[in-house]
Subunit: 326 residues, 2 copies
Amino acid sequence: MNAFTKTYNTYRALVDQRLHSIVRKAEPASLYEPMKYILSSSGKRIRPILIMLSCKAAGGTAKEALHAATAIEIMHNFTLVHDDIMDHAESRRGKPTVHTKWDENVAILVGDELIAYAYRELLKTESKAISRIADVFTDGVVEVCEGQAYDKEFETVKDITIDDYLLMISKKTGKLFAVSAEIGALIGGATERETRALRSYGNFLGRAFQIQDDLLDITADEKEFGKKIGGDILEGKKTFLLLRAAERAAGKDKKLIENILRKKKISCATIPAVKEIYERYGILELARNAVDRDIRQANIQLEKLRAGTAAEMLYKFSHWVLNRNF
Amino acid sequence: MNAFTKTYNTYRALVDQRLHSIVRKAEPASLYEPMKYILSSSGKRIRPILIMLSCKAAGGTAKEALHAATAIEIMHNFTLVHDDIMDHAESRRGKPTVHTKWDENVAILVGDELIAYAYRELLKTESKAISRIADVFTDGVVEVCEGQAYDKEFETVKDITIDDYLLMISKKTGKLFAVSAEIGALIGGATERETRALRSYGNFLGRAFQIQDDLLDITADEKEFGKKIGGDILEGKKTFLLLRAAERAAGKDKKLIENILRKKKISCATIPAVKEIYERYGILELARNAVDRDIRQANIQLEKLRAGTAAEMLYKFSHWVLNRNF
């Protein structure tokens, strides 16, 4: 096991431990059973690990950032629970979603309570910068809601451009990455320059992560990915790939892509047909280049940090995001 | 206009002004239009006024408490938006609810964003006790969610007792009143004894307020109340009145009450029939006595405060809650 994997696993275990022990109440059962269910489900814990690595890179310790790291993961889980209601998603991380296993009312309340739990956990952070940290955190929640609102709006708008898409994912995904890196920086006592660099690092990394997610939907191994391959296509989701294909494809191919954008005539046979179009028009390569470019931009930010093994870990973190297959 | 009404109106105008100007963004419209809609709708602003009066009674000024007062009203509005989804309520304060005017997804997101806005506003409070204030606020959100979870659980449980009901309303209504009074105390720089007294005052006042609400459902003037008279009966809602009637009524009367508790055979004719039962078995008097008792208990707490016009205002506030007809 290399040094990065070891660190990653150690940090993830710390966050998991905290998440699993945070709900101490049992009643009302309709609230606390699903709370325990969602917080004990597995996850990559990318955002908390980003907080902990950023804190260390700024001169702090990973443990100082543990409450904030746990808080961002709880906040991320709130977005999953509520987004899954809105998207009518039946499963998540291989398990039934909260509104499927219980009902929508339960899922609404669980999401709400997760927000409160996230703040409670965040505010346990001992830092002179706690008030700024709380503001950054709140800005994150606000933008994530904005991102989700755009995402839902885009479902019924015909002419979504790549720019619309990039704005949406910078809010829905990029922002919580940027917030994580910035909060880590603030807890670790970073200079303003380092704080800005880490925030920007998080932003680029988040965008790369989301485009990579769009790519994995069509290129991943179903077992490793934990989701059905081609799911985005079946849902007619306006992803980086589909929007770029709409720009590039012509004739019959363009017609097929436009049908998917309008959620028309989609079947299982559509998945291989679209994959073939993606390959023929170089869409997969376009997406890979976009991810590469963002990762390079992210890494450039790291040059502004003090040198050391902690900054090294962030390069490895980018590399891991770039090469992940789940 | 007496001194209390003048103070009440002044404070309410301050809170309204802040609420109306707090949303500065326009995009995404699916989020910010309903945000503005809900925050510009009128309301009694009881919780914010309680914060401001408590702050003054503890030696502070009403203005110092304005951010926290606005925050608690935003938080209260979040609970209304999400509860209205869960209760399938079509109108609120004489206007269509958010999920009726837009849709459920919009209402979920608006509620979420309101929580973030509430924290943002709360954390603008300048106070040495800000970290404790934030903890008290968060405990409030958690208990309000618990109260709502119990409320929904009780809908399908047959044998709800008055004790179950009192636990539920102490969480769903009492807690935010207690939190308001306590936060006001903390901002005003109250002693520990005063803080405890104000928290307890809020708790009793909140319970009185809720039982009064149950009473008004059957005794109020429809126009002044702003809700349909007998609405709780039509919904088969387990209120203080209905649960007490279930204990006291006999024979045919008991059968009728039990049908309502099971949401069976309810029609418009049920409302006058139930009102007659409430009168015959002394249920309305029982409820009025319960409200009186809580208000007296609340007022006893006020004796522990430093004397002055601010404490006097809180007595008048209790009196107003007791005698309100809307």
